[in-house]
């Protein structure tokens, strides 16, 4: 509408500049283009926060969140979890002597056995975690103390690891493989589980030690130097083992070449540093027996046999062993369910409050009183 009126003006107004510029041909008018963009008339959606949109949003969120929360909460509660602290801080605890005597320098292994009782049966696959507390795997200097290209099987990094690994980079003029503080502090307790029959017999429970790391880690991120075929001890011959380790990296799991060296899953799991100072890491899987209807872990007495290699008392740490089943949402996690229920309830409540405020004080028809 505006445009047309301007055009009309254009036609009768003549352009003084057009003749005098001397050049042949028509001189362009300096009139700006009439495009929606340039004239800031782009069609647009102009939402406004009105009662009609805000209140339903609050109620909807309330109505959606509360059921989700309940669902999460129930699911979480159905997960069976058993946790036992075997650090051995108390005098009474079976691992007290180990925790007290053991240090990184000890040569002989210290073992202790921790008895416990499961009240409920654990169905389906049971996952065995170890948990550490007060362990700052997320400390900056710790986190960066690794060489990913060494772990990826890069030959040159193997013998010449990144400077980030200092001071766990070289020992005795030989490169450490795997280098760095993370690898050096690899969790090396051995945990074994035995079922104590009511008659006193101990049955070892088969613990599966593969399938505990992410597929991408195992197959992409971590690779042994020299590929699969080569003899690992040859591949690693120019390196030395991390200071704290008892055995070199190529002896982590001599029984299974697919789980040895850098692609040892215990090692991979450890190398994926935890976000928080209290964490749990998957250790073993107790697979559901395929043929029988008996639960994976039936209620009763068990013993946890610990080869106590990993000292944590120096920094006031705790070591735990956790047995847990999982659901579609992972492990036991009451926080989310409660959070969803709370947020849902609050939103609903806010919706009610806003509704009241809107009805009582709200200016539902405030168009009329705009001055001028």
């Amino acid at each position: 509408m505006m445009a047309s009126s301007y055009n009309a003006k254009d036609e009768d107004g003549h352009h003084p500049g057009s003749v005098g510029s001397g050049g042949p041909g028509a001189v362009k008018s300096r009139k700006p283009d009439n495009t929606a963009f340039k004239q800031q008339r782009l069609p647009a959606w102009q939402p406004i926060l009105t009662a009609g949109t805000v209140l339903p949003a609050f109620f909807t969120i309330g109505l959606v969140f509360i059921p989700i929360g309940i669902g999460l909460f129930v699911t979480s509660n159905n997960i069976k979890e058993f946790e036992i602290d075997y650090t051995g801080v108390d005098k009474s605890s079976p691992c007290f002597h180990c925790s007290h005597n053991y240090s990184w320098n000890s040569t002989s292994a210290c073992t202790c056995s921790v008895p416990f009782t499961l009240e409920q049966s654990f169905e389906s696959n049971v996952f065995m975690y170890y948990g550490l507390s007060n362990f700052y795997q997320n400390h900056r200097r710790y986190v960066k103390s690794r060489d990913d290209s060494q772990l990826n099987g890069d030959k040159s990094s193997l013998v010449n690891p990144s400077k980030e690994c200092e001071p766990y980079r070289k020992s005795d003029e030989k490169a450490i493989a795997p280098c760095g503080a993370i690898a050096n502090s690899l969790f090396n307790d051995t945990l074994e589980l035995f079922y104590i029959h009511p008659n006193g017999n101990r049955t070892p429970i088969h613990l599966v030690k593969t399938g505990i790391a992410w597929w991408t880690d195992k197959h992409v991120k971590f690779r042994n130097p020299g590929g699969h075929d080569k003899n690992l001890s040859v591949a690693f011959q120019e390196t030395s083992k991390p200071v704290n380790w008892l055995k070199p990296v190529y002896e982590l799991d001599p029984t299974d070449p697919d789980n040895n060296g850098f692609i040892n899953e215990d090692f991979i799991v450890w190398m994926r540093t935890a976000a928080l100072p209290t964490f749990r890491k998957l250790f073993r899987i107790i697979q559901k027996k395929k043929d029988s209807n008996t639960p994976t872990l039936q209620p009763g007495n068990y013993t946890l046999e610990v080869t106590y290699n990993y000292p944590v008392r120096s920094f006031d740490g705790r070591k735990r062993m956790i047995l847990s089943t999982i659901s579609w949402m992972g492990g036991k996690n009451p926080f989310l369910g409660i959070a969803y229920m709370t947020v849902g309830a609050v939103c609903f409540f806010l919706g009610v409050v806003l509704l009241i405020i809107h009805h009582k004080y709200g200016n539902r028809n405030n168009n009329a009183d705009i001055p001028n």
Partner: protein, 1225 residues
């Protein structure tokens, strides 16, 4: 070509500070200039600047170092450089080097590209200007040379319509008497032609090349300066001295017109020419938001340091209590073994990590936004004036948001509020008024566009643009009423207008003042066509019959006489004196027999003045041959006398202008620009105070005040301050104040000290509550006193209590002082608008300077920040563009700070979980890209396109402008709110995933509570939360917004998966360590549940708060938005146009718009060509003139507009004197 050169001038002037800086370094102060013609060797000794213009800053080799050096001088860039250096220290480095260097390089690159393109165009136009050809006399022959090779002392030949290459001393020309004509539009914007005349000795050289080559005179003159209208120098030649003045100079930038050729001696070249010297330095203006932003950035730095210290202390404590025991797993390096030292290092590490609270992209984004807003102004068709083909132009791109905060407008009058076009509107002849239109019942009819015009077709020589509505006057002419005829004869004879007749009957008048032009044009249309003149005769076609009058004397106008007369001999041999002038002056000189007529006429005059018209009284007298002869002798004698010549002439004029017979009076309308009263009304509604600062007389200014509706009859009181001493002014001001405040507040007028403090605190409250309307009019003398230190406070007080303030008779310097005064006392944003050279100072002083382009000249535009062609566009500039800019910028800043706090402070919370070790939460790539890729475009598109209220509503509800003036949308409180919002968001962003991840595992039992999955979860939540937030902040979702918001999210996920893909990891295993994390965490329901929960918890409280605000305490904007939405649903409505009715009242007014006239020039015949025929006698009449005039008006307006400039310039000169006086004082 013309346009190109003009733009070159603009461009050079913008770059002037740099040029100045370069130039100052290598030129010592020159006290006197010696130039010898045709002697390059001699002149080279002085190393004068050559004629090469160099505005470009860089060349190909110096670009990179120079540009980088310049860029790192900016604080922000230097800061990031320091950060970068810090990051190179491995013990401190908490981020990879690329997280800082990528944004820094991008910012530097963008700026460098911009600088490079600017410089490229400068090079190009330098090149273009420097390679222009001119004919230089070298070794006795004329050779074509490039401009840049022209040296001082060269003689060059110019041809018609060529640009003058350097400042030249005119030697000779093709025209008689060594005259030549130039157009100075480029220089001072005046489109009329000016005459230059060579010395007689040099003009004799003519175009004799051999003699010119032998010309070896030496010129000693002033050093280069910027005074366009002054030049002093002496020419030494053949043992003679000739003094030189500005009338002999052709300045660079002028164009030669109507002159076949001329020769000139180069005096100043290149950067030393007056054009280049005159550009003046542009003061760098910053907006209040800029200043606020700088303060805030400093605060943020402080905040950053505080957080750094807190975390460093935390680190020290942690290292002592926990870390020292943790050594078995995390050995310390030797030099970090001290906990305090570790804390110190941590401090720097955290400074690096948390630096993103002051993102480098902030400054760049703000610049981009402003540039975008400037383009929107340039592109606005509704600020494009088709008659002059001038679009609005944002000449400064850094002030846009301040346009939304203006509280005071200082406006010039002539050319800004008025068109400076005079229209013959009414007249009173022999006691009868003409000009009003009555309907059949005898009621006055308002004259509109549709009112039928009088048909002048009987007159083939009429001006077709002339409009008159009262046909009774034509009837009177046709009836040959003698007095009516005499009236128009007078108008056709008594003036100093020059006629120009291009083709038969196509007359154009060149009048010195637009009033005169209007009067002569009126006479022309009513059948008394002034057709041609010679020094001794005037030929008038009276009703088609040529009548030649002998012009015996012109008794010229000046400011004291306030009248002019001519004495002519009619063909019948009668001697007649015709006089026109101010009514008060003429009425004193009337013959007593006129008393009755005088009474009626003065009533008519009052009536005319009441309508805001400018009036003149006309009278004639029959002269006796003997008396005249005697008088003529005395006149000749007086005019040759050496001392007191003016005085003697004055007495003689007085003597003969006695006993006049009154003919009547004319009334001329000083036409306002289109839409001025409406604009003023609208801006007033927006609570913008408009002050008119004009050099005009009190009466004229008041007239315009009334016709603009700034002054109204229903105002309580109009105070006129016109005291001549400080005491008088003080008394008047106090009286005014008391009468506004009421007698109860008289106490304040005691001591000046108590007054200041008391009034300052109490008035600001009080002034808001005053409902009565007052106006203050103050004239120049009084203003000089009122601006003194002890009176300025009371002046500000009174002025701010008044609705309208008009300052008349002010000098350019005073204009600036008034602006300065308000800037100092009111902390308000000021805007100055003007069109002429006399407005430059105020335009430069005000926060925002607006130049009206295409009216009077280019000087105001050159120094302005914004320019457009019509005053009424100001409304759109402020209420639409300014308001939007402000709104957008504020929203942008709020969101930007929010976003960065939300993003960065997560690290702070994480510090408590990771032993204060400066571990980042996010992937380093995410930190690198967050600000520049993931979140920059949505907020930029909001900052560019958002419209809270559309343009129609912005204009319809001017008080929507209020928040800007009150600084409501972005201030320190707002800043705290949005940073707090950001901090809360960061808290939620960290602690909800924290709670969920304490014991979380994947649904296949493997771990997910590792650092990388945690990072991806928080990063994804963050991106989603800030995207939703920008969605909430965006009021106006164009397709671009949609594209950018959704696009940013998509790009985030795309980059996330790409960065964590196998391929990249295999190439750079150490840089892309997050391999597979996105895949392994984002396929988990629990992760999405966490993200969803986080988003809702972050967003919903804000939604609730905003809803309550708009619902219970809606702002004006909210209301209008609702209304807008409602009307959009109902379909468009016809907008009711605001019509402002002018009111009229009886005011006496007198105006005569010109100064000392052309009279002498006419009678001496100097400005008339002897050789050419009588039809195109006047030099201005040449046909080349009009087409060549850049921005010249179309033919309809030529006559008035071309000529008002001459008058105005002289007027400005008069004012300059006053400025100097003031400064001396």
């Amino acid at each position: 070509m013309n346009g190109a050169c003009f733009r070159e001038t603009l461009r050079i002037c913008r770059r002037w500070p740099d040029i100045m800086a370069i130039w100052k370094e290598d030129v010592r102060v020159e006290e006197e200039r010696h130039v010898r013609a045709n002697d390059r060797e001699y002149n080279e000794r002085f190393s004068y600047a050559d004629n090469r213009i160099k505005t470009a800053k860089y060349n190909a080799f110096t670009f990179l170092p120079t540009n980088l050096f310049e860029q790192f001088q900016r604080v922000a860039n230097a800061y990031f450089l320091i950060l970068l250096i810090l990051q190179l220290i491995p013990e401190i480095s908490s981020l990879s080097w690329f997280t800082t260097i990528v944004p820094l390089v991008m910012v530097l690159a963008i700026t460098a590209v911009k600088d490079a393109t600017d410089d490229y165009f400068r090079h190009k136009s330098d090149q273009q200007v420097n390679t222009r050809q001119s004919q230089v006399l070298i070794k006795g022959t004329l050779q074509n040379e490039k401009w840049m090779n022209v040296r001082v002392g060269d003689i060059i030949k110019l041809e018609n319509n060529q640009f003058v290459a350097a400042d030249l001393l005119l030697l000779s020309s093709s025209e008689p008497y060594g005259l030549c004509y130039i157009e100075t539009a480029e220089l001072d914007g005046e489109t009329n032609l000016k005459v230059r005349q060579a010395l007689t000795v040099t003009s004799d050289l003519a175009n004799d090349v051999a003699r010119l080559a032998d010309f070896n005179a030496e010129v000693i003159c002033e050093p280069p300066n910027n005074k366009l209208d002054k030049f002093t120098g002496t020419l030494y030649w053949k043992d003679n001295k000739y003094s030189l003045d500005n009338e002999k100079m052709l300045l660079r930038g002028c164009v030669l017109r109507n002159t076949e050729w001329c020769f000139g001696l180069v005096i100043f070249a290149g950067l030393q020419t007056k054009l280049m010297q005159n550009c003046g330095s542009t003061k760098f203006k910053r907006t209040s938001i800029d200043r606020l932003m700088n303060t805030l950035v400093l605060w943020i730095f402080g905040f950053l340091i505080c957080m750094g210290i807190i975390l460093a202390i935390g680190n020290t404590i942690w290292e002592q209590r926990v870390g020292s025991e943790f050594w078995a797993y995390l050995q310390w390096n030797k030099f970090t073994s001290n906990a305090i030292f570790s804390g110190f290092l941590t401090f720097w590490s955290y400074v690096i990590i948390l630096n993103t609270v002051v993102p480098i992209s902030l400054y760049v984004s703000v610049e981009v936004l402003r540039l975008g807003h400037s383009y929107f102004i340039n592109w606005d068709r509704r600020m494009y004036y088709s008659h002059k083909d001038t679009p609005a132009e944002a000449r400064t791109t850094t002030l846009n948001e301040e346009l939304g905060q203006v509280e005071f407008i200082f406006s010039d009058k002539t050319g800004t509020l008025t068109q400076n076009i005079m229209v013959f509107n009414k007249c009173s002849i022999n006691g009868k008024t003409y000009g009003d239109v009555y309907d059949e019942f005898g009621h006055k009819v308002d004259i509109t566009e549709k009112t039928p015009c009088v048909d002048f077709s009987f007159n083939p020589l009429r001006d077709r643009k002339f409009r008159f509505h009262d046909s009774s006057l034509v009837e009177a002419i046709k009836l040959e009423e003698p007095l009516v005829q005499e009236f128009f004869r007078l108008l056709a004879l008594c003036h100093t207008v020059m006629p120009e007749e291009r083709n038969e009957g196509e007359l154009v008048y060149q009048a010195q003042s637009p009033d005169e032009g209007a009067l002569v044009t009126a006479a022309r249309n009513f059948g008394f066509v002034f057709r041609s003149r010679t020094p001794e005769t005037i030929t008038v076609y009276e009703m088609g019959q040529p009548v030649t009058y002998q012009l015996l004397a012109i008794l010229d106008f000046n400011n004291v006489r306030k009248r002019m007369s001519v004495i002519v001999r009619t063909p019948k041999g009668q001697l007649k004196l015709y006089s026109k002038g101010a009514d008060t002056i003429l009425f004193d000189r009337l013959d007593p027999s006129n008393d009755e007529l005088m009474y009626t006429t003065s009533e008519h005059l009052n009536e005319f003045a009441g309508e805001g018209l400018r009036t003149l009284a006309l009278a004639y007298k029959d002269l006796d041959e003997d008396v005249f002869d005697e008088w003529m002798k005395q006149l000749l004698f007086a005019s040759t006398s050496l001392d007191n010549r003016e005085e003697k002439l004055g007495v003689l004029y007085e003597e003969i202008e006695q006993g006049l017979m009154l003919l009547g009076a004319t009334a001329i309308e000083d036409k306002l620009q289109e839409g001025v009263p409406e604009t003023i009304a609208c801006l007033t509604l927006a609570n913008i105070k408009i002050w008119v600062l004009t050099g005009d007389k009190l009466e004229t200014a008041m007239n315009i005040g009334y016709s603009c509706n700034m002054l109204r009859d229903d105002m309580n009181e109009v105070f006129i301050i016109s005291g001549h001493t400080t005491l008088e002014v003080q008394r008047e001001l106090r009286a005014a104040k008391e009468s506004i405040m009421g007698p109860s507040r008289e106490i304040f007028s005691d001591g000046p000290d108590t007054e200041k403090t008391d009034i300052y605190s109490s008035d600001s409250v009080f002034e808001e509550t005053i409902i009565s309307e007052y106006a203050l009019i103050i004239n120049g003398h009084s203003l000089a006193h009122a601006l003194e230190a002890d009176l300025e406070q009371i002046l500000v007080d009174v002025a701010c209590l008044c609705k309208t303030v008009i300052c008349c008779r002010v000098t350019p310097l005073q204009k600036a002082l008034v602006v300065e005064l308000i800037k100092r006392h009111k902390r308000a944003v000021t805007l100055a608008i003007g069109d002429g050279a006399n407005d430059v100072s105020m335009i430069k002083t005000a926060h925002i300077g607006v130049g009206i382009s295409g009216q009077e000249g280019m000087q105001a535009v050159l120094s302005s920040d914004y320019s457009f062609a019509q005053f009424r566009y100001l409304q759109r500039l402020l209420l639409v563009h300014g308001r939007w800019s402000y709104h957008r910028m504020c929203n942008f800043l709020c969101y930007f700070f929010y976003k960065n706090f939300a993003f960065t402070l997560v690290h702070f919370w994480y510090g408590f979980q990771c032993g204060f070790s400066a571990q980042t939460v996010y992937d380093q790539w995410f930190i690198t890209l967050f600000n520049i890729v993931y979140t920059s475009l949505p907020v930029l598109s909001m900052g560019l396109f958002d419209q809270d209220v559309n343009e129609q509503y912005s204009l319809r509800y001017p008080n929507l402008y209020r928040p800007g003036q009150l600084n409501q949308l972005f201030n320190k409180r707002k800043f705290f709110t949005c940073t707090l919002h950001g901090i809360c968001t960061s808290f939620i962003l960290f602690f909800i995933p924290y709670g969920a991840f304490i014991s979380a595992v994947r649904d296949d039992g493997t771990q997910i509570s590792d650092q990388q999955a945690f990072a991806v979860t928080i990063a994804t939540s963050l991106v989603i939360v800030v995207s939703v937030q920008i969605g909430l902040d965006t009021n106006y979702w164009t397709a671009v917004n949609h594209f950018f918001i959704w696009g940013s999210l998509a790009v985030y996920f795309a980059i996330l998966f790409a960065m964590q893909s196998d391929g990249l990891f295999n190439i750079f295993p150490n840089q892309f360590t997050f391999i597979g994390t996105a895949r392994n965490s984002l396929d988990q329901k629990i992760v999405w549940l966490v993200i969803f929960l986080t988003t809702v918890v972050c967003i919903m409280p804000m939604v609730a708060v905003r809803f309550i605000k708009t619902d219970c305490y809606p702002t004006q904007t909210d209301k209008v938005r609702l209304l807008q939405q409602a009307t959009r649903r109902q379909g468009p409505q016809e907008q009711n146009l605001r019509r402002v009715r002018r009111t009229s009242s009886r005011r006496s007014a007198y105006a005569f718009a010109h100064q000392q006239g052309y009279g002498e020039l006419i009678t001496s015949g100097k400005n008339m060509k002897v050789t050419t025929s009588s039809t195109s006698t006047y030099p201005l009449s040449s046909p080349e003139r009009c087409p060549g005039t850049r921005g010249a008006p179309d033919e309809t307006t030529t006559e008035a507009e071309t000529n008002n400039t001459g008058f105005k310039r002289e007027f400005d000169q008069n004012q300059d004197v006053t400025v100097e006086d003031l400064e001396a004082r």
